[in-house]
């Protein structure tokens, strides 16, 4: 029997028994949808981990004077920072670069002094989404600063309070001045909330007599996955002099560990999920095929070649698998797309658990925006197809080899 006719027969077989077909399609479709939902969550988890660990404080790469990370000494600075930042921004692989000043200081509301860290930043840059001060709308002009919420609680500071800041200028002089706390901030970075006063970069530079210097330049790459290569390339740039450029993995290896642990765990579970789905599909196919032994007997008695029977069965199952998978993809894909658009509150979804998570001194809010890549869909569809073929070919072959009489009796 020519292949084309076989396909048509197979196709018609499918729709002859609508209930059975419908059942199989439902089972396959739902399984596929579930797997894709899981995949969507897994992808989001990776994306999210990367964004939240690198977004606020770390960036994708950082530039420092060689000894600064080890000593944290005020005088280990990068020079001619505006020129450096400009040059970096013009690099095609760099999306943005922003400088920072880190200055230890003493802060006092009344007479009691508290050890704090003064962070001088480019306020506009750092207030962008996913950055340190994301969502901040306070403008700081004329000696106004932002204070970490926990620090303010410790010091008894309310917005509008005037505090004294005392530190050491780069020229060795005593840097001191009065500042107004414009607002209290809560950032994803615990250190900032607990111990930091944020002021505009030029304000910090002027207070600590730093001319055009800074301690750190944070770089965001266009392609985060290439952060390490970017850092390596930047290290060779002559205009950076002796400054060191490190990517976020080198700067925070513990983060790398955490991300990898989470990924490994999720992938492990993905394997389990796929096995569960595959076994479900296989079971369905096997069951359905075995139940049709009588039908095969009929066909055999009528003179159909056993190999044709096998081929027909396999084609049917394949069609079933593919249609089911496509339906499931449509359903799962739609759900993921919707969830991606609106976001899901993780805590609500999992029935408990926190809606904010504190890790490595950073607070992450758990709102999910799953997404799918083509490979996820391809993977599931191929798995279903393979499973369908295998799960139907074997019993079909068995049945086809039977004596027609025996098969008919079933």
């Amino acid at each position: 029997m020519p292949g084309f006719m076989m396909s048509r027969i197979a196709w018609r077989n499918l729709w002859r028994n609508r209930r059975r077909t419908g059942l199989a399609l439902t089972a396959i479709g739902l399984s596929v949808a579930l797997v894709l939902i899981y995949d969507g969550m897994l992808r989001w988890e990776s994306d999210w981990l990367l964004a939240t660990t690198t977004g606020p404080m770390l960036g994708h790469a950082q530039v420092h004077a060689p000894e600064w990370r080890r000593t944290r000494a005020m005088d280990q600075t990068l020079r001619e920072v505006p020129r450096l930042v400009d040059a970096l921004r013009r690099d095609p692989e760099i999306a943005s670069a922003t400088p920072r000043v880190y200055a230890p200081a003493l802060a006092a509301l009344g007479q009691e002094g508290f050890a704090v860290l003064v962070l001088g930043v480019d306020l506009a840059e750092e207030s962008r989404p996913t950055r340190l001060l994301a969502g901040n709308t306070t403008r700081l002009t004329g000696r106004r600063v932002l204070m970490g919420r926990l620090l303010a609680a410790q010091m008894g500071v309310q917005p509008g309070a005037v505090i004294a800041l005392v530190g050491q200028g780069l020229d060795g002089s005593l840097a001191n001045d009065l500042f107004t706390v414009a607002a209290l901030i809560e950032t994803p970075v615990d250190l900032v909330n607990r111990q930091t006063i944020v002021m505009p970069l030029d304000e910090a530079q002027s207070l600590f007599v730093m001319s055009d210097e800074a301690h750190e330049i944070v770089i965001y790459a266009r392609d985060p996955a290439r952060a390490a290569a970017l850092a390596a390339r930047l290290n060779g740039r002559p205009d950076l002099g002796r400054a060191e450029v490190l990517d976020w993995q080198a700067l925070a290896p513990a983060m790398v560990d955490l991300i990898r642990l989470v990924e490994v765990a999720w992938v492990f579970v993905l394997v389990l999920v796929l096995i569960a789905a595959a076994s479900g599909v296989a079971n369905t196919m096997l069951m359905a095929t075995f139940e049709r032994t009588h039908e095969f007997g009929m066909l055999l008695a009528l003179g159909t070649a056993p190999s044709h029977i096998v081929r027909m069965i396999v084609l049917e199952s394949l069609a079933l698998g593919v249609i089911g998978a496509l339906l499931g993809t449509a359903l799962g894909g739609a759900l993921v797309a919707w969830a991606h658009h609106t976001g899901i509150d993780y805590a609500a979804l999992t029935g408990g658990g926190p809606s904010q998570l504190s890790v490595f001194g950073m607070n992450w809010s758990l709102r999910i925006y799953p997404r799918l890549a083509l490979i996820d869909i391809a993977r599931v569809v191929i798995a279903v197809m393979v499973t369908s073929i295998v799960a139907s070919a074997w019993p079909a072959a068995r049945a086809a080899r039977l004596q027609p009489a025996r098969a008919l009796r079933d």
Binding site: R20, L23, L34, L261, L272, S279, A282, H294, G351, G361
Partner: protein, 411 residues
């Protein structure tokens, strides 16, 4: 007449062994998968327990009044010896250790490093703080030893010092005056994490008392046999403590870690649900497929007078038998797997290196499953729940079949 249904069901099951075997196998595989996930989920708590028991945090900690609000290292317990004795007297408490902390400046020549020094009880500390087992050079503190110092590698590097070198430690004494003492580095600990290394700086507790002039311990840390008893033990302990001292549990001591594990547990629940759903789908669809193929059979039974109710009973009883058999097979296959999971655990060390530091807490990235009495009822519940649940629609469908119609159309 009731027996007829059962016998028929039994015979049906026996008659079509292949189909039955397939069903049972399908159910068993699904159950084993679900069991595996559940075991992992329950075992997750063990990871949490390990955080308490091996990171030095402890499962329960007795702290002085005011420490909860202002984590001031200079606070001391009202009566640490009585508190420790009270803790030791409770059943279920594995290890009790008292510590005193101080902010100290270590100096070698012109190299200075400010550190948080922990005064410990060397004999007991190793049982609560795994870091000290990773002494890379030299050795750990000995009991009754004085003037000995164990530091993390990062500190030693910054001091430009090594084992057997003498270090001056300076602290602010109780009266606000500056006190100094000499220490000799006897061991250097390397945890693999810079942060963790900076946090390791241990001396005998008596040395901290001498240096700061603050006597007694600032904390008494408990490691329990069963971390789940933490709240119960805290309640029992609270009234027996010296006035002002209070007992805190791990979630209060390390809320960030608590948050992490809560999130982890929540994810696990979600994933379990997904897998369970998929398993149920698989079993249900297979069962449905099987039953739907037997339309003729049911039609015949109906034609010869079997009532709808009895047909339903028939189908359900078949499902029960198959489900039970599936559960038994699942146990046979799954018990060894889960047992091994509980013993050897899921070892992620291959992917992460030998240990993994999280928030300055070192953990072995091995997850152990849970093995307990819960396994048997769980498997039966899943297997039978799935099969009987799946059989309800076809049972109803079978009862509804018009025999004439069914018999007429050859399937």
């Amino acid at each position: 007449m009731a027996w007829i249904a059962t016998r028929y069901a039994a015979r049906t099951v026996g008659r079509n062994l292949r189909r039955t075997a397939l069903s049972v196998l399908g159910i068993a595989i699904g159950c084993v998968l679900a069991l595996f996930m559940e075991s992992l989920n329950r075992g997750r708590g063990e990871l949490f327990a390990r955080v308490g028991s091996s990171s030095g945090i402890g499962h329960v900690r007795i702290v002085p009044a005011g420490w909860r609000v202002r984590r001031d290292q200079r606070l001391r317990l009202a009566d640490w010896e009585a508190d420790a004795a009270a803790a030791r007297s409770l059943p279920g408490v594995a290890v009790v250790t008292a510590r005193a902390r101080a902010q100290v400046l270590l100096a070698v020549g012109t190299h200075v490093v400010p550190v948080d020094v922990v005064g410990v009880d060397p004999a007991v500390e190793a049982r609560t703080f795994r870091y000290v087992q990773r002494v890379q050079e030299g050795r750990y503190l000995r009991a009754t030893e004085s003037g000995a110092l164990v530091v993390g590698k990062t500190i030693a590097d910054r001091l430009s010092a090594g084992v057997d070198d003498e270090v001056v430690a300076t602290a602010v004494g109780s009266g606000g005056d500056i006190q100094s003492a000499m220490f000799r580095i006897v061991g250097i600990v390397s945890t693999g994490s810079d942060d963790a290394d900076m946090s390791v700086c241990q001396v005998a507790r008596g040395d901290v008392e001498r240096l700061t002039g603050l006597s007694g311990a600032g904390e008494v840390s408990l490691v329990l046999d069963d971390f789940r008893q933490a709240d119960a033990i805290r309640l029992t302990l609270a009234p027996r403590l010296a006035p002002g001292d209070e007992a805190l549990t791990l979630p209060e001591l390390a809320p960030e870690i608590q948050g992490h594990f809560e999130q982890d547990a929540a994810s696990a629940r979600f994933v379990s649900a997904v897998i369970l759903l998929i398993v149920l789908l698989g079993v249900a669809s297979a069962q449905l497929a099987a039953v739907l193929e037997r339309r003729r059979e049911f039609a015949v039974l109906s034609a010869i007078g079997m009532s709808g109710a009895r047909l339903i009973t028939l189908v359900v009883q078949e499902a029960l038998m198959v489900g039970a058999a599936g559960a038994l097979l699942a146990l046979a296959l799954g018990l060894p797997i889960v047992w091994r999971l509980a013993r050897a655990g899921l070892d992620f060390r291959r992917y992460l290196g030998t240990s993994y530091a999280f928030q300055g807490v070192l953990l072995d990235p091995v997850i152990f499953g849970d093995f307990g009495m819960w396994i048997v009822p769980y498997v039966f519940l899943v297997a039978i729940g799935a099969t009987v649940g799946a059989s309800l629609y076809p049972a109803w469908y079978a009862a509804r079949t018009d025999p004439a119609v069914a018999l007429r159309v050859a399937q």
